[in-house]
Symmetry: C2
Subunit: 362 residues, 2 copies
């Protein structure tokens, strides 16, 4: 398959593994009576969103209004912008369209943003509100004891409160997925109680990163929003949440430089996949900048923009000019660096998918 | 100016500072009798390349064949692909066109790649060869004692040797720019001597990262290839190579979330510039994920894809909904994340430039 690719670096998606990953998370959600609303910022590809809906999801989560427009225009009209947006007047027109012709919710974590949303959409009730909670990640989101004034602003402006959501980002550390899932459940339930005590209905409690989603089993969320699970990546691998057999996405790369140890310089190969396609995400606990398919003891010890430096011990280093498959640490930011991906089935290239929402940061 | 931008996050280039940065490096090169061949992977914008040529450069350095094609088609035909490329047969046709209708050099660090270049271009002598040296960064490149066999392969295949080049990437550490520049000079001169002793002419000795370029003063390179200097970034700032007044590029961002200290969570703002526009480059010595223009004590303490978490002590945190200007750690990877930049002059938006070579990794 690798020799059939017209260029490197190129992103390759294995269709069989992708489909299995989508089915496994859908089965988990169904078994546990959870709504699965996958986060589409991971893939930004309409064809993958359609697969997720076909597997039982009612709609998608997205990070930006641009992503929402892209999926809406591709026919996926049930969307939750799980981000505390601050919309402009022009954004208000788009929100109104998506809410009128589809099913829309947006995130907020302040009274001020509720008023901004109400102002720019002229209090369009179809723009349903989800209040973001801080479940320990200390990013955006309020604590449960801060949630009621925001809900009151929603009511004052005659908007609709759909529920609360949180992202337990502290699940991205070794061994933390279970305690992060517990923090998530506790936070969601505490906010629900506070809101119910103040007279609000809270139909949706939304949580669930990829590491914590399958630890979300009882008493917390009604909805989960994992993203990375469709592809897998080196972070999930090194967190022990998946195996190499679950990796659906790799970056095909050419060995452009190869060196035996010489003087102070170690034996190494250089591939043409650097930070402009792998990105530069590296958690403190990561073993390097990514992994190599078929060579579990290989590690990407350094990246520059167009260079990935790879070392391993047990095997002969591959020949210059040969191609290998690299697994990025964080797949969401890698996909966003290319315009298209190659879909493969074993050794055959089936088709190309455009990364339609690439770069849609606004 | 910020309120005139139709959306955030958006990249903003200050034309006056850009022009001053281009002029200052051109003056330095002229004063020291160095050829300035700026690295265009930083900006990927034809209009900026034209400014660099107007300031006296004969041509540009690029990282990939795709970047070379983009600038060639924009009328900049003197190009050096300063990367050890492994070209496909299709690449050979492009190389031949660029060499026939322009002035082309390409990098290599192996006998095998010289043969590959000769094979796919049918020994097109216009594809001049630059041998890459390792001056201490231990990425691609050979040591001076390994250079002669590669030059012999160039001669055997009737190609033209233009010279040698190196990237002193170890200049990217506090206080290292002077010693890295010395390593660079020593390596270039040692390779020149080895090649001259073996009967080769070596017209060009090329070096110079942005930190080390202006430390390159005597006895080493004949050519420098800095890239970042056009814009500046937080890395250059924290390395002490530039001041805030030299920062030509910022990312306009909206404060979407604002929190006073509460429980375990510190006071912070969240802006809509995360790793999908700032990128995630962070050197071990960096103070955070970027800086804030006008707030020298502010630091981006964390990023996720669409969230930048910012803390500072001395001033009141800005209001939710307000806009600020963020300085990325590494500007080359930030520019590659957007399709267009806004060119401003003080408070006026002058025009938009397409990032024409964005994503051209191959």
């Amino acid at each position: 398959m690798l020799h059939k690719l017209p260029y490197t670096p190129a992103i390759v998606v294995d269709q069989g593994i992708l489909d299995a990953n989508i089915a496994a998370m859908a089965d988990f959600a169904a078994d546990h009576n959870l709504t699965l609303r996958p986060h589409a910022k991971t893939h930004k590809i309409a064809a993958i969103g359609q697969k997720q809906l076909a597997a039982g999801s009612p709609g998608l989560s997205v990070a930006t209004l641009g992503e929402a427009q892209y999926f809406f225009d591709a026919g996926i009209t049930d969307l939750f912008i799980s981000y505390p947006i601050w919309p402009t007047t022009a954004d208000g027109d788009v929100l109104t369209r998506l809410a009128t012709d589809g099913n829309l919710a947006v995130g907020t974590d302040s009274v001020a943003a509720v008023h901004q949303l109400a102002d720019v959409t002229e209090q369009q009730p179809g723009v349903e509100i989800m209040i973001e909670l801080n479940s320990g990640h200390n990013r955006s989101g309020v604590f449960p004891d801060q949630v009621v004034p925001i809900a009151q602003a929603v009511r004052d402006r005659k908007m609709v409160l759909r529920g609360v959501f949180t992202f337990p980002g502290h699940s991205y550390a070794p061994g933390e997925h279970t305690s992060a899932a517990a923090d998530e459940a506790q936070t969601l339930k505490a906010a629900e109680r506070a809101l119910q005590d103040a007279g609000f209905n809270v139909p949706v409690l939304s949580g669930g990163s990829t590491p914590s989603a399958t630890a979300t089993v009882a008493g917390g969320a009604t909805e989960i929003r994992p993203g990375v699970y469709v592809f897998g990546d080196a972070q999930q691998l090194e967190l022990g949440r998946i195996g190499f057999e679950n990796i659906a996405l790799t970056i095909a790369a050419t060995v452009v430089s190869r060196h035996e140890a010489h003087g102070d310089a170690p034996a190494r190969i250089i591939v043409d996949a650097g930070s402009k396609v792998l990105a530069n995400d590296r958690a403190p606990w990561a073993t390097g900048h990514g992994r190599v398919l078929g060579h579990p003891d290989a590690h990407i010890t350094a990246v520059s923009e167009h260079h990935g430096t790879i070392r391993w011990e047990s095997d002969e280093l591959p020949a210059i000019g040969s191609r290998i498959q690299v697994i990025p640490n964080h797949v969401c930011v890698a996909v966003n660096l290319v315009d298209e991906v190659y879909v493969v089935d074993g050794t055959d290239i089936l088709e190309q998918w455009q990364v339609g929402a690439r770069g849609m940061n606004a």
